[in-house]
């Protein structure tokens, strides 16, 4: 894992000092809330419905056990004993007092963490494949590039007041586990026939009220020109992105309105100029960073054998464990999705326990996934059973990864000042309706995503089943979408028809799953069946009038 040197540490320390000064000026009345707002937002501090919410950056979703432990301690010290892992691989605390926020940031800085640019119209925390450095199908480890991106984007002076927020994701596998094409910029590290690494740039994707899948803008940008290419992409956006309407200000609208070809032409023109300026960190810097991401000291003699005689353990392995590039090791995912729970929430004790387990069983590493789960990336297969037992004791052995109850949900109207409807109670009711694990397994892979408003923090467009909460004349109403996906086969969901109330939406989902079970052919997932038979049979079942005896 990357470790700060004195330069990196000086930057986060300077930020803590600056923010402390800003908070002091606010508390002393020297600046108004209007003037303070953009400053605190640059630090991830939102004023929500009930309190301040602080969003802490977890760069490319990677943590060590000391950092994870601190996140647990912060939950106890400054919040109400829990934290909420988000769809952008970050963590949020919902009950923060303004006067304590600078101390919280100082605690974070003590473990090489921060809340820099976790909100505001700037370049946000870069996200990455949560299996980076571990996945069996990995071509290039994206983490060194993500760290280069982190440093480049931190306090970038030209791009701090963009038309709108800007999100970058980077992957290095053919399998896209980061919803890369639904970002302002998605970078896929690829190799050409000669074995050279290149960056494939997808620009102009996004969710929100106008979901779009990003087109390819740069086919094969040399990694040692990646920063220059990003500068060009951002500069063209800063120049032409719309500022008259915040709902049309994301880069996806610009790329859509002028077209991918014209946007590419402008980027190429700017890129040619920028290449003359020497803005790119030298090869030695990328090499230095790569040095932090070398493989941990795996036991080359570790066995691939796994005793699956405990049926509960076997179920968990089948669902939550993925293939590792190193023989004898596996990737274990801790699903933060208990029946009736809040997706992505973990208590301070659970967070600290996960830190301990990472230290003892995963070479001190953890990852946060955009699906609001936690990954232990490097677990020896021989340790899996012990690990599972310890997770089970703490209520963390939910064997529902990628099943219908592994729900992504935004905080919704329970916390968020932008929301139109609550997300959490809907997620809870769905997980209770489908509580039986055997039934979930029967339904197979089924990605269900809930957003409490059109801003789509819960990724509803990309759910095999998506739910969008809206406000209909003062009453919460839930629209149902089918057919979204976020991987290599990215697609956007389609609304079934009129919306439902809170109980109605759960019934509608159950009817949709019944259609799938009745219509599927061998090996088909819900999404595959939907793509094959289309919306009509689902719509018919969902909106059929109840029979008298029904």
């Amino acid at each position: 894992m990357y470790q700060y040197d004195s330069y990196d540490q000086a930057m986060v320390d300077a930020r803590v000092a600056e923010f402390r000064d800003q908070v002091n000026r606010r508390l002393a009345g020297e600046i108004t809330e209007d003037q303070f707002k953009p400053l605190r937002l640059k630090n991830g501090l939102y004023l929500q419905l009930h309190a301040y919410m602080l969003r802490v950056a977890i760069p490319y979703g990677t943590l060590n056990s000391r950092q994870m432990r601190m996140l647990g301690d912060i939950a106890d010290k400054y919040d109400r004993g829990y934290g909420h892992f988000t769809t952008r691989q970050n963590i949020q605390y919902n009950w923060i007092k303004l006067e304590q926020a600078p101390d919280l940031l100082a605690d974070l800085a003590s473990v090489e963490m921060h809340a820099i640019q976790t909100s505001g119209n700037c370049i946000r925390n870069t996200t990455a494949d949560h299996f980076a450095g571990a996945a069996a199908d990995e071509l290039v480890d994206p983490r060194p590039y993500a760290e280069l991106l982190r440093q480049w984007s931190t306090f970038h002076p030209e791009f701090d007041y963009l038309p709108r927020k800007f999100k970058i994701a980077i992957i290095g596998s053919e399998t896209d586990r980061a919803a890369m094409k639904l970002h302002d910029i998605g970078i896929q590290l690829v190799k050409n026939d000669a074995g050279e690494i290149g960056c494939k740039f997808y620009v102009g994707g996004g969710m929100g009220r106008t979901p779009m899948i990003a087109p390819v803008i740069g086919d094969f940008v040399p990694p040692l020109q990646m920063i220059s290419y990003l500068e060009a992409c951002l500069r063209v956006y800063n120049r032409y992105g719309r500022r008259d309407n915040k709902y049309k200000a994301r880069i996806k609208i610009l790329v859509h309105e002028i077209g991918a070809d014209e946007y590419r032409r402008q980027v190429e023109e700017e890129f040619a100029h920028i290449l003359t300026l020497g803005l790119e960190p030298p090869p030695a810097e990328l090499e230095r960073i790569k040095g932090f991401f070398e493989q941990p000291g795996f036991d080359a003699a570790a066995s691939d054998d796994l005793d699956l005689s405990d049926p509960d353990f076997a179920v968990w392995v089948k669902q939550n464990v993925h293939a590792h590039k190193q023989a004898g090791y596996a990737i274990a995912t801790i699903a933060l999705k208990p029946v009736g729970g809040i997706p992505g929430d973990a208590s301070a004790d659970q967070i600290r326990l996960m830190a301990d387990l990472a230290r003892d069983y995963s070479f001190d590493e953890l990852r946060v996934t955009h699906a609001q789960n936690i990954v232990l990336p490097h677990v020896k297969k021989a340790d899996l059973y012990t690990l599972w037992q310890k997770l089970d004791e703490a209520g963390l052995a939910n064997a529902n990864l990628d099943l219908i109850s592994d729900i992504i949900a935004c905080p919704g109207l329970d916390y968020c000042s932008l929301a139109n409807a609550r997300s959490i109670p809907v997620a809870q009711k769905i997980s209770e309706r489908f509580a039986d694990l055997g039934r979930q397994q029967e339904l197979g892979e089924l990605k269900l995503k809930i957003s409490g408003c059109i801003n789509a923090c819960g990724h509803h467009h990309a759910g095999h089943i998506g739910i969008l909460g809206v406000d209909r004349k003062g009453v919460e109403n839930y629209q149902l979408l089918l057919g979204g996906s976020e991987g290599a086969d990215t697609s956007l969901g389609t609304i079934t028809g009129p919306g439902f109330n809170e109980d109605g939406i759960v019934d509608a989902i159950e009817k949709a799953t019944d259609v799938y079970l009745a219509q599927r052919t061998d090996g088909e997932r819900f999404l595959d069946t939907y793509r094959r038979i289309g919306m009509a049979p689902f719509k018919e079942a969902i909106y059929a009038k109840e029979s008298v005896n029904g």
């Binding site: 931190t154 500022r243 960190p281």
Partner: protein, 142 residues
């Protein structure tokens, strides 16, 4: 009308009034121009040798187009005065300086002392821009 200008140059201020980018193209004797957010700074590139003052207007601090405009002018060799005017606030000063601004005429006065403190906010910088400060990566690999 702006009363106070924070200026970080040793030459004499330009007395000429700044004209619009459109007017500048037609006035071969003009030496000062004002860029509005919608203007393309690249239109000025053929005329850099006769320019002594470029004002970049920030009608609202949230509109960041002026940062790119300033940096583009400097990247192409403009050495005259580059002045940020309008809704220019204390907390934006250090980024503006990094993008090449060397004078500031904010709507609301900022003391020189406060401005100097703002410029000293960041002990180091991660990017190479146009302010001559070495990026952290350059220091690491001396």
């Amino acid at each position: 009308m702006v009363e106070q200008t924070l200026r970080y140059r040793s030459d004499e201020p330009v007395a000429d009034p700044a004209v619009t980018v459109d007017a500048f193209a037609d006035q071969s004797n003009a030496t000062a121009v004002r860029i509005e957010p919608g203007d393309d700074a690249r239109d000025l590139l053929p005329h850099l040798d006769r320019l002594a003052l470029v004002e970049v207007n920030f009608p609202a601090y949230t509109d960041g187009r002026g940062y790119s405009a300033a940096r583009i002018l400097r990247e192409h060799g403009y050495t005259g005065e580059l002045r940020a005017i309008g809704d220019v606030l204390l907390d934006q000063l250090s980024h503006m300086r990094r993008c090449g601004f060397d004078s500031f005429a904010p709507n609301q006065d900022i003391s020189r002392e406060a401005a100097d403190k703002a410029f000293a906010t960041w002990p180091e910088v991660y990017q190479k821009t146009v302010d001559g400060r070495p990026a952290i990566w350059a220091k690491r690999h001396g």
